[in-house]
């Protein structure tokens, strides 16, 4: 790392005319753009669109669970004219498979890495774009083949019906799930495409973060957001190829007659016995080797963003910056050696299971450090409840629930009971929806002014928050009780079994909550589109935040900065003493005494919430 002599002042005069519009016409500017900010916005809208799709699928799942075999209102008769509007059991399988696929591969991962990764990395480290802008564009456009594959798979080919985990032999041999012949293959291609997209993204992010930091931006001055995204990119780079490899093997099994994942002698659906030699457990290892790190891929960026947002909202430096970084790295590295906890009951070697159990237990430790540090950041802060704060607190509160239910499942004997019951479903919706999505809501609200130059509406935001929070808890908390009762997941009609008969009312309550939550999302969409055009204009730094992106214009032009960024501090210098304001931007060398007016005042318009 080159050591630099810092010029004395913070904001340099414009050396090169950077902040201007992207060259070219409408198409190259807004569609096939190589500008990271445009790509981020493209990702944002694509993923939000996909969220509607995934949510609608979830609501269909919920409908079947609350009112099994009853015609769905409005869409039912139209979709399933033949069955009198009923959801068929096959279709139920496809529903939750697609729900999970869309939510994980097309919503959560792209919105974190794609939207916020793209938007924030160059801005926060003081670069004018990504290291490989073309690759960046490609990574967005690779999402569309994936969407096409998933869509075709669902709409045309009968639907993938093996769950998002795609376990063989069900997913591996066409005759095991009649009717889903090409669908599963298409699904696998979809996963491969989205894998390529993520791969290009993560190589790009890593290169950018390693090589393009502004002078003075040492690793330990990176904002937590960047740390989260950086570690996510590393996780992705190491874990994803394994899934891709496994995916190719499964495709080969389906199309080319290879036999990696199925043994000989299985009589499936009255077909001739299989001639194989492979092993089903191999897929599970390859899959979870990716998919466990993937759950942290879905969490770490949010952890980073929440750290930055919380400390900004509390006007207080992040409590324990280094321990936060270290615990994040610990989560990432431990995340690679716990994948077996999804396989405790799968017939894996019990000794290995025990090793995985210990590792899984230990991963709660860095999470604990983070949780406590966030709480300590709030402690003694100067907080105001705006939408961002509320969503951040919800993140924290819900992550604790999801994490603690993870402890039950990490305990192998307890997981023997809980595996593949709704307790698991409760766990991962708490972490995925409760933690990640609330974090994302907060981040949208927080960085919206930088993306579009306008503030989002607070009233709508708060209403959306309250409804979503109540709806989410109403939907997902009772799932713990369903799990306790032993209700297996992926059941189209659990009430067939005597011991689950009495659970209908609880499921109906959950479904109603889910519908409320779903409707609440409409407010989010209204808020976004309304504010994009009619929201109050935001200045450079509406939140009085410290990180570098707030020193750039809102929205930043092509090339991002109208000055040469130099970094003098760590990222969260709030509550600084004897300054004219209570924060010190990373690009400001020192705070001016209160009596002197700051020369390059960055808050042109004070926006109040």
């Amino acid at each position: 790392m080159s050591v630099l002599n810092h010029p004395p002042t913070g904001l340099q005069p414009i050396l090169k005319p950077q902040a201007h519009h992207a060259p070219g016409n409408f198409i190259t500017k807004y569609i096939f753009s190589t500008d990271h900010k445009i790509i981020a916005v493209q990702f944002l809208f694509t993923t939000l669109l996909m969220m509607i799709v995934g949510g609608a699928l979830a609501l269909a799942v919920r409908w079947q669970l609350a009112f099994p075999w009853e015609s769905m209102p409005i869409v039912g008769p139209w979709l399933f004219a033949a069955e009198g509007g009923q959801i068929s059991p096959e279709f139920y399988t496809m529903l939750f498979t697609m729900h999970a696929t869309v939510m994980i591969f097309l919503v959560i991962i792209p919105i974190l890495a794609g939207t916020f990764g793209n938007f924030l990395i160059p801005l926060m480290i003081g670069a004018d774009d990504m290291a490989f802008p073309k690759l960046n564009m490609l990574s967005y456009w690779f999402m569309w083949p994936a969407i096409a594959c998933f869509g075709l798979s669902f709409a045309y080919a009968g639907g993938p019906a093996a769950g998002w985990t795609s376990y063989p032999i069900l997913a591996d041999l066409a005759q095991a799930a009649p009717g889903s012949g090409n669908a599963q293959t298409l699904w696998l291609f979809g996963v491969t495409f989205i894998g390529f997209s993520s791969m290009m993204g993560s190589i790009n992010y890593m290169t950018t973060i390693i090589n393009m930091r502004a002078p003075g931006m040492t690793f330990f001055r990176l904002p937590m957001t960047i740390w989260g995204l950086f570690i996510t990119a590393i996780l992705q780079a190491f874990a994803l190829p394994v899934l891709t490899a496994g995916g190719f093997m499964q495709v080969a099994d389906r199309l080319l007659g290879t036999c990696f994942f199925y043994p000989s002698g299985l009589v499936i659906n009255n077909a001739a016995p299989t001639v194989g030699g492979g092993q089903a457990l191999l897929w599970q290892h390859l899959f979870w080797f990716y998919s466990h790190p993937a759950v942290y891929i879905m969490l770490l960026p949010v952890m980073g963003m929440v750290s930055d947002m919380l400390s900004c909202m509390c006007r207080k430096p992040l409590f324990g910056y280094k321990p936060m970084v270290i615990s994040m790295s610990a989560i990432a590295s431990l995340g690679f050696i716990v994948w077996g906890h999804h396989m405790y009951t799968s017939g894996m070697n019990p000794a290995v299971g025990m090793a995985f159990m210990v590792a899984t237990m230990m991963i709660a430790l860095p999470s604990a450090v983070k949780t406590f540090n966030w709480t300590a950041t709030i402690w003694g802060g100067k907080l105001e409840f705006n939408t961002v704060t509320l969503n951040c607190i919800a993140f924290l509160s819900m992550f604790i629930v999801g994490g603690l239910s993870g402890i039950f499942m990490a305990a192998v004997p307890v997981d023997v009971y809980f595996h593949d019951t709704y307790f698991i479903v409760a766990h991962f919706h708490y972490v995925l929806f409760g933690a990640t999505l609330f974090g994302v809501f907060a981040a949208i609200q927080f960085w919206f002014p930088k993306m579009f130059g306008r503030m989002m509406n607070e009233k709508l935001g708060k209403t959306h928050f309250v409804l979503t929070f109540i709806g989410a808890n109403g939907t997902f908390f009772p799932m713990h009780f369903l799990g306790m009762q032993g209700m297996p997941r992926r059941y189209a009609d659990p009430y067939l079994h005597g011991y689950l008969e009495h659970l209908v009312p609880m499921n109906q309550f959950m479904t109603i909550s889910a519908i409320i939550m779903g409707l609440a999302q409409i407010l989010l969409f209204i808020n976004i589109f309304y504010s994009m055009f009619w929201g109050p204009k935001a200045g450079r730094n509406p939140w009085n935040a410290t990180t570098l992106e707030w020193a750039a214009p809102s929205p930043p032009g092509h090339g991002n900065f109208d000055f040469v960024p130099m970094i003098y501090h760590g990222p969260n210098e709030y509550a600084v003493e004897n300054g004219d304001k209570d924060f010190l931007m990373q690009s400001e060398k020192e705070c001016l005494p209160p009596d002197k007016k700051h020369e390059t005042d960055t808050d042109e318009t004070e926006t109040s919430e």
Binding site: P89, T93, Y167, P168, I169, L170, A176, Y262, P263, G265, L266, V267, N269, P273, A280, C314, P317, L318, F319, G320, T345, S346, G347, P350, A351, G353, M354, M357, M361, A364, A368, V369, T375, G381, K382, L383, F385, L390, S397, L404, F408, A411, P413, V414, V416, Y417, H419, D420, V466, N473, F481, G486, P488, R490, Y491, P494, L496, L500, A575, E577
Partner: protein, 278 residues
């Protein structure tokens, strides 16, 4: 307004804790009206569950309470600036060591239960010597193969084996072992009442042991997605006294070999399993 939000964030953990506390009384807890596990190992698993529940409840209540209190303080902060503090090593050390110790304790504490459940060395000897039955999962039913009375279960189907579908009879009060296998895709042998679950993995024969301690009729369900009919792999495990169990086996033998129809049925299934080998 700020206080209202604090109450909002206070309200929901309270509701969560209250509903959990309520759960055992309104049948939201373990199945069969929150009955104790019907197996000895299950009781130990429940014990571990309650231990973790207590720990997590304390952590949950503690963290949420501190969170709300911190929020309350921050919102009502009348100072001009927030506290300027970057961290506190002592504090950090304390709150990483305490959970660390708890977690380490939990991991060591549970090892025995797991070892007893799964590691072959610790299986009860009597059960291993004379496995009760072979359980074959298939789309979408459970098949059970018992050895003929007085004989031992063989790896390969024998001509005098006894078969039943979707109904497993088990004597209580002694450990029994089943050989779990699958004919087609992956399934999972899940006995909620006994807290037993094990996936049936194609190509492997997995021994599962359990000791039922209460007679009764329990549900046996499939817990691993196995196709469209996953939800309807409905079967029962009938736990009864040893005498009744022997009577059942005799009955089964009668049905299978002494009335004309049964004979054909038994031949059929043995032919099928032969075919399966090829």
């Amino acid at each position: 307004m700020g206080k209202g939000w604090c109450l909002f964030f206070l309200f929901w953990p309270v509701a969560a804790v209250a509903s959990c506390a309520m759960a055992p009384f309104v049948n939201w807890s373990f199945p069969y009206d929150n009955a104790q596990a019907a197996s000895n190992l299950g009781i130990r698993i429940d014990g571990l569950f309650y231990l973790i529940l207590v720990i997590t409840a304390i952590v949950f209540i503690g963290t949420q309470a501190v969170l709300v209190y911190a929020l309350w303080r921050s919102v009502n902060n009348r100072e001009k600036r927030a506290m300027h503090i970057h961290g506190n090593h002592k504090l950090e050390l304390i709150w990483s060591i305490i959970p660390g110790v708890i977690l380490l304790f939990l991991s060591i504490y549970q090892m025995n239960i797991w070892a007893d459940f799964r590691i072959k060395k610790y299986f009860p000897e009597a059960a291993v010597k004379a496995p009760l039955a072979e359980v074959t999962a298939r789309q979408f039913e459970w098949r059970f193969r018992y050895p003929a009375i007085g004989k031992k279960l063989q790896q390969k189907p024998q001509s005098d084996d006894l078969y039943s579908v979707n109904e497993l009879h088990v004597p209580f009060g002694k450990p029994v072992l089943i050989q779990l296998r699958s004919d087609d895709v992956q399934h999972s042998f899940f006995l909620p009442a006994l807290r037993v679950k094990q996936d049936a993995l194609p190509g492997l024969q997995i021994p599962v042991w359990f000791e039922a301690n209460k007679p009764g009729i329990y549900d046996l369900v499939c817990a691993e997605l196995c196709g469209w009919g996953h939800y309807k792999m409905k079967a029962h495990v009938i736990v009864e006294s040893d005498g009744e169990y022997q009577k059942y086996l005799k009955n089964l033998t009668q049905k299978q070999f002494y009335d004309g129809l049964g004979k054909i049925a038994s031949k059929d299934s043995s032919r099928e399993s032969e075919a399966a080998e090829k």
